[in-house]
Symmetry: C2
Subunit: 568 residues, 2 copies
């Protein structure tokens, strides 16, 4: 008689427990053993910044089920029926004999676990940049529950008040909010010249930076950290431009996959790191599966050269499910990711899915983009907030391949619609035609994502002649052009593009004041969100002027300096 | 030389102005004339309940652009370049000579407008049920700006305090909130035995009804209104069961398309009403287009027998765009709707897209459904709220064909994801694998829509053995079954399914207390949201019990009576 299926799972945070629990559901008589280096398994690591902020006040909640039951080894055994060994490190995989050598970190005791199928969910770790002083006290990476609790305890006990964040990615941005809300002074240092450099195109990034600055965070962009200084505990961060006093440092410059165990076992790994898996989450060894933060993912678009590394808890859970189905002999596959991410920074909701314009242009020769700005609900509905939507599409196929959505409005909803659209290979027309829910408390009749798609379609069709804010700025700074503001004089006086010579003709008067518009120069038009500017472009076109462009997203998406009549 | 393109647009609310403005954009030298019966065009009719509620305090905002410019005839001429005749009724279409006879309502003056292309956007009107007394004062249909302003004025001037709403559809539900928030007593009468009968399946509807009742609205379901009583103004509403005192009545029993003009002109109309259009929004006359509330729509799924009537401002705008493109000779089409709708009732967000289970079963022989309940964000994140998701799919294709999402959580986002999924013909597996945005302020790692899809997949695969709350209730009431609550005794004592004999074994203890579970009866298990109940089902299955089902959505989706230990 055949023995029951033996499964060993290495790693107990997201993919591991998901796979283990589902294997037990699908194959009740299987013997599933999960090992994890830590003392706590299956915790909500993404909640850590919110514990520091004080939004989530109970750190225990991060390791409990929704019903308030601690997800400890006993819980998994009693409820899910599998064994968990915490504080247990997987040392070596013997693929020939199908065993894993494990060692208890506290006792040093070693053991050998036999498997029929092995699941590697070894996770990731914070990238530790080679900065002198990174070992000082009060330097955190914000990866574990202990990072969060120790930081909060220290802030309270030692009255730490000056924080420097190294890196302006997810962790940096979320911790900027968290520490600022706790009342600390916060400086964010980033070696690239924009926040969220891997995540957003520059003009979208500048909007985020503007919001973060307004909230009182000092941004030090394009600055390289040379050292963390201090005796015992940190006292300053030295960059290539200055020295910033600091009681507390958070390093958030990225994570890297824990793929060493897989490499040692001879499994295929990506040159840049990360276990390579196929659409069944299987590694190069047919009896070993891998998922979660330790793997590189297939990108949904086959044009992408090679896999991508985007570690996220949502993807880890999907991997875990597919791994369990595969091990149980069920058909299941994971078709890939679209690099979707979302992040809150104060009142800004920052989302991105698919490719940025920069990424798209590296792969495709026929990229077109459009930036749309406007309210997330009907303008008459109180509490409606602006969103800035940037869409990236291909001219030939008209498929949308990327979306960036930022602003105080509900970007999360539009992001998920865009993620679905890219997943299903939708064209700009299809995105405009999805039958989205409409009622004033939720959205305007033409949803921002549809409005963005319409603009992009108009641009692809040569109806809308528009330029991005960055292109507009370059052209305006180059001189010899007309900048035309088609808002009312009141709006114009209150706030406008900072330029010595902006022509103001309200849209309402434009047909009658056509004579005032120079015919011998390129004209760049804007308004609040560029709805009126688009109309103005068409009026000028109809009047025979054809060197006319509107600035996409208007003032709402203008990331550069603005001025008012009092200041000028 | 050919004359410029002459376009006449009948109707000035949503589809009409959209089409007219875009035609002028695409064909600048066209002559576009829009006529409308009303004195106000292009207003946000969907905002009316929010004006009554006091949420939107300026009625003018409903007729202004986002920039605060009134959308009157002068605005359209100056900005959009087309002519608008208000208070002007289209009397007759002469298709042979391609003219429209129009008449000014105030002066009686008639005129004949010649067209090359005609756009019919004649809208809809409230269904006036044959109830005696509906002509009394203080009876409203809530269709025009005047309805909203006169109602608010009357409520204030005459101190109207008792409202009866006839019909529990969109208008009824939105006005129930609006009038309750204004401090009125509100009774909602509905001839069907559920709220939103066309929109939701019964169990989802019962959850909405429960919330509305809790907010103090009296529900009179399954009651037929026989008469509205009063002398001059309304004093009561008489139903087949009782007489309800009333100072104010809102009739919201549906709308019907204004298709008479089209019918008179011999254009194809649906037997139930509504102009028939093809995917180019063209009527049976190739020179006449129609869109907005006056047409019936193609449903996206060709299995649907015949077109459907779902008038919505969002669809009207899509029609207007396609009509303009077609008239301008550009390729554009409208592939159809998925009957998406969303509506707010107090703190409940009520969404639906695709087919209800009832509708699906009328068309397909192999329908499966699943109800999932849970939080819209990680349980540890403050402010996370429950959602109840019902998905409808086909067993053979595994395609999702319907979704209903209700609750205090963010249903709007999941609704739009589901609308996209149905639009693109997604399977349950695909919905589970879309790379949705994940961060604690926005969603749990497994988004509710994905979790619902997973449950449905598990059910289709025979892994999850579950029943809907309605089926469970029927089986429990039939007797001879075991009802098993697998929550903690504390949860059990606080609130549980109202039944004289509910067995309580916490999930944590279930493996050790298997002996207490009867083996000779069907077992129906539940917990808070049925996550634990699902685990319990699998534990009992593994222990050899196979007549085991969990109740989908647990207590969160249980629309029937509950009890506590004190009461029992």
């Amino acid at each position: 008689m055949k023995n029951s299926l033996r499964v060993v799972v290495i790693g107990g945070v997201a993919c591991g427990p998901k796979a283990a629990a589902r294997i037990k559901r699908l194959v009740p008589n299987s013997e599933v053993t999960m090992v994890d280096r830590g003392s706590i398994v299956s915790y909500g690591a993404c909640g850590l910044p919110y514990y520091v902020e004080g939004t989530c006040s109970k750190i225990e909640a991060l390791v409990e089920t929704a019903a308030g039951i601690p997800r400890d080894a006993g819980y998994f055994k009693r409820v899910k029926g599998f064994d968990v060994f915490t504080r247990t490190e997987a040392m070596k995989i013997d693929r020939k004999n199908k065993t894993v050598l494990v060692r208890n970190i506290d006792t040093g005791k070693e053991d050998t676990l036999a498997y029929d199928k092995l699941v590697m969910a070894t996770g990731s770790r914070a990238l530790q940049p080679p900065i002198p002083g990174r070992e000082l006290e009060n330097v955190w990476y914000m990866r574990s529950l202990d990072d969060a609790t120790s930081m909060v305890d220290k802030i309270q006990a030692k009255n730490l008040s000056r924080a420097v964040l190294i890196g302006a990615g997810y962790i940096g941005v979320e911790m900027a909010e968290a520490l600022k809300e706790r009342g600390l002074q916060v400086t964010m240092v980033e070696v690239f010249d924009q926040v969220m450099p891997q995540f957003l195109d520059p003009e979208m990034s500048m909007l985020v930076a503007g919001h973060i600055s307004k909230k009182g965070v000092d941004l030090a962009l394009g600055e390289k950290v040379l050292a963390i200084e201090g005796t015992g505990s940190v006292s300053a961060v030295k960059t290539d431009k200055r020295t910033i006093p600091a009681d507390l440092v958070v390093i958030g410059v990225g994570v890297r996959p824990n793929d060493e165990l897989a490499k040692d076992a001879g499994l295929d790994c990506s040159p840049k790191g990360g276990i390579v898996i196929n659409e069944f989450c299987r590694t190069s060894d047919p009896d070993i599966y891998a998922g979660g933060d330790c793997v590189v993912n297939r990108y949904i678009d086959p044009a992408m050269p090679g896999p991508v590394y985007v570690p996220l808890g949502s993807t880890s859970n999907k991997h875990g499910r597919v791994i369990a189905d595969q091990i149980a002999g069920r058909a299941a596959s994971f078709s890939g990711i679209t690099s979707t991410g979302i992040c809150k920074a104060f009142e800004f909701n920052i989302g991105r899915t698919g490719l940025t314009e920069k990424q798209a242009r590296e792969i495709y020769p026929d990229v077109e983009t459009a930036i749309w700005a406007g309210a997330d609900r009907p303008h008459y509905f109180p509490g409606s907030k602006n969103l800035i939507v940037k869409l990236v599409a291909l001219k030939s196929s008209r498929k949308i391949i990327g979306a960036q959505i930022v602003g105080q409005g509900d970007s999360s909803k539009r992001l998920d619609v865009a993620a679905g659209a890219i997943y299903f290979g939708a064209t700009v027309e299809q995105v405009g035609n999805i039958d989205l829910g409409y009622a004033p408390p939720y959205s305007p009749p033409i949803d921002p994502i549809a409005a963005g798609a319409h603009l992009l379609a108009n641009k692809l069709d040569g109806i809308a002649h528009s330029v991005s804010p960055i292109e507009a700025k370059q052209r305006i700074d180059g001189g010899g052009v007309v900048v035309l503001d088609v808002r009312t004089p009141r709006e114009f006086n209150a706030r406008r593009v900072a330029h010595p010579d902006v022509l103001n003709i309200p849209l309402d008067d434009l047909r009658e004041r056509l004579g005032e518009v120079p015919r011998d120069r390129d004209i760049f038009i804007y308004c609040g969100v560029s709805l009126r500017a688009y109309e103005a472009q068409l009026i000028l076109n109809a009047a025979g002027l054809d060197r006319v462009f509107f600035i996409e997203g208007g003032l709402a998406a203008w990331p550069f300096k603005t001025t008012s009549s009092k200041q000028s």
